[in-house]
C-alpha cells in the first residue's frame, strides 16, 4: 500500500506556504509549509489541539489564516469564490448534527449542489446512486439521516463529499465514530478514490490512529504544538523518537513485510513527561 502514488505531470494539487493562524493572541498554527501531489493521500497526525482541524479548515475558507498563502491547482484560494472552491475542495467534518433531517439520498445529493442551479438532472441522480453503492448505503437511501447511527451518518457525509467530485478531499477524522471493520473500509475507499487513474484526486486525512495512517497514507504530516514536526513517508516520520516527543508514549516499530504494512506498537506513557504533555493539551 505504501509509496504507490503516481507521479503526475502537473506537480501539486495543493501548496501551503508560511501559514499562520491564531485565535486572538493564542497561536494555533505557525509557519506551516507543505504540499500535496496529485493522487496523493496525506495523513495529518498530532495530539488533540495540535491544530489538525484548524489546518483543514484554513484550506477550505472556513477559517481565515492571518498570514500565508494556499494554492489549489496552482491558484491562490483568495481568488476562488466559495462556490468555485467547493468544486475543487470538499471538507468533510467530523460529524453533522441536524435539526432538520432529510433522506440519505437527499443528503448525498447536496454534494451536487455546487454543480446545479435548481433542477436535478439524471446525471446527478446517477452520480448519487453510484456513490451510495460505493459506500454500501443503497439500503439506507430512503431512511432519514438523523435516525442513523453515528458511524452510518459519518459514511453518508463522506459519500456526500465524494458525490461532490472535488480534486482534493479534506477529511477531519473520518473514522472517529466507526467500528474496526468500518474504519478500514472507509480508509480503503478513500485510498481507492485517490488511486483511481481516471480521476485526479488527492486527500488530506486527519486521523488519530497511527496504524491506519501507516497503512494507507503516502506521506504523513506530523503536527506538534502548531508546527510541522515532520513531513515525509510513514517510515521516516514514525520513529520511536518522534512518537515519544509528539504523543508522549513509548513505542516499538515493526517494519513493513510482504504480508503486512509497517506497524507501531504503542507502549506506556512516558511518566516524566506527563506534566509537559498536560500543559500542551491545555
Amino acid at each position: 500500500m505504501i509509496g504507490k502514488h503516481q507521479s503526475r505531470n502537473m506537480s501539486n494539487v495543493l501548496r501551503v506556504n508560511n501559514l499562520c493562524f491564531s485565535w486572538g493572541e493564542i497561536p494555533v498554527l505557525e509557519n506551516i509549509e507543505f504540499s500535496c501531489k496529485w493522487g496523493e493521500l496525506i495523513a495529518i497526525l498530532g495530539v488533540n489541539g495540535a491544530g489538525k482541524s484548524t489546518l483543514l479548515k484554513c484550506m477550505n475558507k472556513i477559517l481565515q489564516p492571518q498570514t500565508g498563502n494556499i494554492e489549489i491547482e496552482s491558484k491562490n484560494i483568495d481568488d476562488f469564490s466559495i462556490l468555485e472552491l467547493s468544486k475543487s475542495i470538499s471538507y468533510v467534518p467530523q460529524s453533522v448534527m441536524t435539526n432538520f433531517s432529510m433522506d440519505v439520498f437527499d443528503v448525498v445529493l447536496l454534494g451536487r449542489r455546487p454543480h446545479i442551479s435548481w433542477r436535478i438532472s439524471d446525471a446527478d441522480r446517477d452520480k448519487v446512486s453510484k456513490t451510495l453503492q460505493l459506500f454500501d448505503l443503497e439500503d439506507f437511501a430512503f431512511r432519514r439521516f438523523d435516525r442513523l447511527s453515528g458511524g452510518e451518518r459519518q459514511r453518508v457525509i463522506v459519500a456526500k463529499a465524494v458525490a461532490q467530485n472535488p480534486s482534493l478531499f479534506l477529511f477531519d477524522e473520518p473514522t472517529s465514530d466507526l467500528d474496526l471493520k468500518n474504519q478500514i473500509e472507509v480508509m480503503k475507499r478513500i485510498r481507492h478514490l485517490v488511486d483511481d487513474k481516471n480521476e485526479r484526486k488527492s486527500a488530506l486525512v486527519a486521523v488519530h490512529d497511527i496504524n491506519l495512517a501507516c497503512r494507507f497514507a503516502d506521506r504523513i504530516l506530523l503536527l506538534h504544538e502548531g508546527k510541522v514536526k515532520a513531513f515525509d513517508t510513514p517510515e521516516s516520520v514514525l520513529n520511536e523518537q518522534n512518537i515519544a516527543e509528539v504523543f508522549g508514549v513509548t513505542s516499538t516499530i515493526l517494519s513493513a513485510t510482504d504480508e503486512s504494512p509497517m506497524r507501531v506498537l504503542v507502549g506506556d506513557e512516558i511518566k516524566f513527561n506527563a506534566a509537559s504533555i498536560i500543559k500542551q493539551e491545555e
Partner: protein, 365 residues
C-alpha cells in the same frame, strides 16, 4: 442503481402531488368560507359566480378601487356587496397572511438551523407593536391620516428592527444564535416601552391597543389587500433561489454549508431581511398573528420533509389554509361573535406546538 434514482424521482412527484392537492383544498376552503356568514349563506357555485363575474374585474382594477375608494363592486346587489367588500378582502388577506408568515417562518427556521424560530423571533412584531402603541397612546405618527396612522407606524417601526438585523448581518462572523438573542432583546425592550405607555394610557387607548394585538383580518379593505398581495407576490419568487442554500444550511450548519459552496453569513443575512420584510408588511396591517409562522412550516415538514424546493411552496399553501380555516372557525363558531384570527390560531396552534415538543423529546440529537 437505476431503481434508487427512479424511486427518488417518484418521491419527488408524490410530494408535488401533495402540494397540488393542498392548494386545491385551500382554494376550495376559501370559496366555501366566502359563502359562510351571518347575513347570507351561499353555496360554492353562487360564490364563484359572484367572484368570477367578468364585469366586476374591469371594475376591480380601475383606479378607484386600488386607491381605496368604496365604489366597488359595480354590481350593487346585496350579495355582491357582502362578498366583495367584506368576505373577499378578509379571506384574501387571510391567505396572504398565511403565505407570508409561513414562508418567512420556514425560511428563518432553516437559515438559523433552529426549529423553534418563528417570524416573531427576530422582534419584528414587537417593533410593529411599539409603533402601533406610539400612534394609539401618544398620537405620534409618521403619517397624519388617521386611518393609516397605526399601520404606517407599525410598518416603520418594524423596518427599524429590519435595519437592526441588517446592521447585525454586516458584522463579521455573526452566528445564528446572535440573531435569536438580539431578537429576544428587542422583544424585551419594545415590550417594556409598550408597557410603560399602557401604564399611562386611558381606558379607550388600552382597549384599542389590546384589539390591535389580537390580530385580525378585518382591518385591511379591498384596496389594501390587493396592494399587500402584490407586494408579497413580488417578494416571493426571490425566495426560491435560496432553496438549495437553505437545504445545506439547515442540514449541516455553517461549516457544512461552506464545504458545499454556500456562503453562510451573507446568505443568512439576506434571507432574514426578506423574511422580516414579509412579516412586517403583513403584521402592520393585521396586528399580531404569529403562530401560523411556527406551526405551518412544521406541519409541512411532517408532510413532505425538509427539502426547501418543496417546503417553501408547501408551507406557503399550508399557512394560507390554516389562517383561512382558523378565521372561518373564529367568525362562524360563536356567530354573531367574531373571535380574532390571532386568538383562534393560537388555540389551534398551541396544542400542536406542545405535541411537537413532546414528540421530539425522544430523539433531540
Amino acid at each position: 442503481m437505476e431503481s434508487i434514482s427512479e424511486k427518488h424521482v417518484l418521491n419527488g412527484r408524490n410530494q408535488i402531488f401533495l402540494i397540488v392537492i393542498l392548494t386545491i383544498c385551500t382554494f376550495a376552503l376559501a370559496l366555501f368560507s366566502m359563502g359562510l356568514g351571518s347575513s347570507s349563506q351561499l353555496d360554492m357555485f353562487s360564490t364563484m359566480n359572484i367572484i368570477f363575474d367578468k364585469d366586476q374585474f374591469s371594475c376591480l382594477f380601475s383606479f378607484g378601487t386600488l386607491g381605496g375608494s368604496s365604489t366597488f363592486p359595480c354590481n350593487q346587489d346585496l350579495q355582491s356587496q357582502i362578498v366583495w367588500n367584506l368576505r373577499f378582502p378578509r379571506i384574501m388577506m387571510g391567505m396572504i397572511t398565511g403565505v407570508a408568515l409561513s414562508t418567512a417562518g420556514a425560511l428563518m427556521q432553516g437559515c438559523l438551523g433552529n426549529p423553534l424560530v418563528s417570524p416573531l423571533t427576530l422582534g419584528v412584531a414587537s417593533g410593529a407593536a411599539l409603533g402601533a402603541a406610539f400612534a394609539i397612546v401618544l398620537n405620534l405618527s409618521f403619517i397624519p391620516v388617521p386611518e393609516l396612522a397605526i399601520v404606517a407606524n407599525a410598518f416603520l417601526f418594524s423596518l427599524i428592527v429590519v435595519a437592526i438585523i441588517i446592521q447585525l448581518g454586516n458584522m463579521r462572523s455573526v452566528s445564528a444564535e446572535s440573531y435569536i438573542l438580539v431578537g429576544i432583546a428587542i422583544t424585551f425592550i419594545a415590550g417594556a416601552i409598550v408597557s410603560t405607555m399602557q401604564y399611562f394610557a386611558t381606558d379607550a387607548q388600552l382597549s384599542q391597543l389590546a384589539h390591535w394585538s389580537f390580530g385580525s383580518l378585518s382591518r385591511p379593505d379591498l384596496g389594501n389587500t390587493i396592494w399587500i398581495g402584490l407586494a408579497i407576490l413580488w417578494i416571493l419568487p426571490t425566495v426560491f433561489k435560496w432553496a438549495w442554500d437553505l437545504n445545506t444550511l439547515s442540514l449541516g450548519g455553517d461549516e457544512f454549508a461552506i464545504s458545499t459552496g454556500v456562503e453562510p453569513v451573507s446568505t443568512r443575512r439576506n434571507i432574514l431581511i426578506i423574511s422580516a420584510l414579509m412579516t412586517s408588511i403583513v403584521i402592520s396591517f393585521t396586528g399580531l398573528i404569529g403562530f401560523v409562522g411556527l406551526a405551518a412550516p412544521h406541519m409541512s415538514r411532517l408532510l413532505i420533509g425538509n427539502d426547501y424546493r418543496k417546503l417553501i411552496p408547501c408551507s406557503a399553501v399550508f399557512g394560507a389554509f390554516l389562517v383561512v380555516f382558523a378565521d372561518t372557525m373564529g367568525r362562524t363558531l360563536f356567530a354573531p361573535i367574531v373571535i380574532p384570527v390571532g386568538i383562534m390560531l393560537s388555540i389551534i396552534g398551541g396544542p400542536f406546538f406542545m405535541y411537537l415538543l413532546l414528540q421530539n423529546r425522544g430523539h433531540a440529537h
